[in-house]
Amino acid sequence: MTKEKVPVLSAEGIPQRDNPYAIMVRRLFHHRSAQLGMFLLGILILCAVFAEQIAPFDPIKQLNNVKRRDTPCIHLLGCPAEKEQHLMGIDGNSRDQFSRIIYGARLSLQIGVLTVGFAIIIGGLLGAIAGSGFIGGWVDDVIMRSLDVLMAFPSLLLAIAIVAVLGPGLINALLAIAIVEIPIFARVVRASVVSVKEMDYVMASKALGASELNVLFNRILPNSLSPLIVQGSLGIAAVILSAAALSFLGLGAEFPTPEWGLMLGEERNSIFNAPHLVFFPGIAIMITVLSFNLIGDGLRDVLDPRLVHGG
């Protein structure tokens, strides 16, 4: 009887499983609305990064030889060649609106990412502390009930009230919006921490003697990230809208910052004689918010296989 060859286990034979995040990204690239969202966001990021190269004029400097609130002049569309080209016209302070819109992309993306980042860190920590319960159940109650009270205010109005205390200004407005967003992220993180902490691998880590903090940061939090990623993307959309709204009301960015909401607010009374000054900043806000909403929807479909949406 010949001895059968015993199969030797080797890493080569086992089909290599991809990193789950690589799978996620691949699926996201095949998701229809996420594709559109990423395309739009790509354009915006290009505008933000290369603002200096794309914008033909300084976004803040007032131009001399132009008419205030002049309509757009595009050479390709038959604007006389001797006239200087201004793709989106001139604003009420003799500035080139196209350049201001381009620089506004940079500001809006920064506003969205930084504010949501801040809210995620604070909200995530609060949610993790509340959900993991390693300090005590009463901490959970105190944190979550306090956040419930914050959520009892309509979001924009709470932000307005906080700005009232801090005083108008872009930084204060962003802080106010971040405070408003914190309860949302805290809830999301708490919900997933509560479900993840009952998993066997968490028990195993604890049994092996890992400290509470170690378990929280290395086992529980990384496995609670999916809903946070989805909420983060939708949160950026919401933050950009709120920041634009506060600036529109005169409580956020101040003259001469190229912020889209402020641009709309400055020119809202020109809607009947220079509609282009209202139209373009609004379109810019809408496209930015739309791109994050589409990506957020795509992420939700990709990360949560239980939800099967129509597409």
């Binding site: 205010f153 309509p154 979001s155 009232a164 709204a245 529109f248 709309l264 139209f279 909403n293």
Partner: protein, 358 residues
């Protein structure tokens, strides 16, 4: 049912207390001595002491909070710093307009949102469905104030001279005015809550017109509210349409729907009685959540359409550092929000008997 409502009402109390604590803290956080803010930079030490004694500011913070809660429970929100008028009076002037706007916007958003959502779900993956969902995504992403300006441009300028033209600003035409109901009905002895409610009704153009039989007034007020309500309602409409679609699709895939179809129930009554009714819970939830968005949207829209509502007054108060007004308005808005959610919870119990038992 009543037991459920009572239990739910008791749960609201800590939230209410929390709201008061937040608004109380907000005014305490304001930098600077309130005495100098109120009396001006040149107030003397003596007048400051008198001022603090008068408003109870010499008491400890917990004592002040108790006093604050006590005053609010007695309907005393303090006075505006700007014109020294009682805040309850300002609320009775401003709130009716905002409630009218939010209510009309909600009506518009719910009716068309549910309708579009149902069509989208029933005609899944057709052009109508795709268009509705693209529209919903765009609608959610639009800034309210921008949409408001575009609507004003379109309906007041482009359609000028046509029967579809609508006024871009103001609350009533110049020829219209609101007569206080106390005058109409000859009531002279109204005080406290009764006076407040009468003032609220008088200042609501729609209610005023309906109660006095002045239908021209109602029509004029509605005409001025259509554009703002469209602007405020669109985002909520999009959200409601999306929720309706996914809730209905979820239900239509259930076994009992298949059973109902198998036993030969006509499709239309199946959708109405079996599917839509069960899909209503998430829809009602989202409508309740949207109240906050509607109130926030109303704030932005009022400034565009020069409507004398809560929002425009609140922004004015913030820029003028009129903190008691900010505080009073915040409390009132939060109360409306909390009680809307209470109504939503009550409607769950009505729609889903399981909630009552839990």
């Amino acid at each position: 049912m009543i037991q459920f409502l009572v239990r739910r009402l008791v749960l609201v109390l800590p939230v209410l207390l929390g709201i008061l604590l937040v608004t109380f803290t907000i005014t305490r956080l304001v930098p600077g001595d309130p005495c100098y803010v109120m009396l001006g930079e040149h107030a003397t030490q003596a007048s400051c002491t008198a001022f603090k004694a008068r408003f109870g500011l010499d008491k400890s913070i917990p004592e002040q909070f108790v006093r604050y809660v006590f005053n609010i429970m007695h309907g005393d929100f303090g006075n505006s710093l700007k014109d020294r008028r009682p805040i309850t009076l300002i609320i009775s002037e401003r709130l009716p307009m905002t409630i009218e706007l939010a209510f009309l916007a909600m009506l518009f958003a719910s009716i068309f949102g549910i309708l579009l959502g149902v069509i989208s779900a029933l005609k899944r993956n057709t052009a109508a469905d795709t268009l509705t969902m693209i529209g919903a995504n765009v609608g959610v992403s639009m800034p309210v104030f921008w949409l408001g300006l575009l609507l004003a441009y379109f309906f007041a300028l482009v359609l000028k001279g046509t029967p579809f033209a609508l006024p871009p600003s103001g609350r009533l035409s110049a020829t219209m005015s609101l007569v206080p109901l106390t005058k109409v009905w000859g009531i002279t002895d109204a005080t406290g809550l009764k006076a407040f409610l009468l003032a609220m009704l008088s200042n609501s153009a729609i209610m005023n017109g309906l109660l006095t039989g002045n239908l021209e007034l109602v029509g004029d007020a509605l005409k001025h509210l259509i554009l703002p309500a469209l602007a405020v309602g669109t985002i909520s409409l999009a959200v409601i349409a999306r929720t309706t679609r996914s809730a209905l699709l979820d239900i239509l895939g259930q076994d009992y729907i298949r059973t109902a179809r198998a036993k030969g129930l006509p499709y239309s009554s199946l959708v109405r009685k079996h599917a839509l009714r069960n899909a209503l819970i998430p829809i009602v939830t989202i409508i309740g959540i949207q109240t906050g968005a509607l109130l926030s949207g109303a704030v932005l829209t009022e400034t565009i359409f020069s409507l004398p509502g809560v929002g425009s007054r609140m922004v004015e108060a913030i820029l003028g550092r009129d903190y008691p007004v900010v505080q009073g308005f915040s409390v009132v808005i939060a109360l409306i929000f909390v009680f809307t959610n209470l109504i939503v919870d009550a409607s769950y119990a009505y729609l889903d008997p399981r909630v009552r038992v839990k």
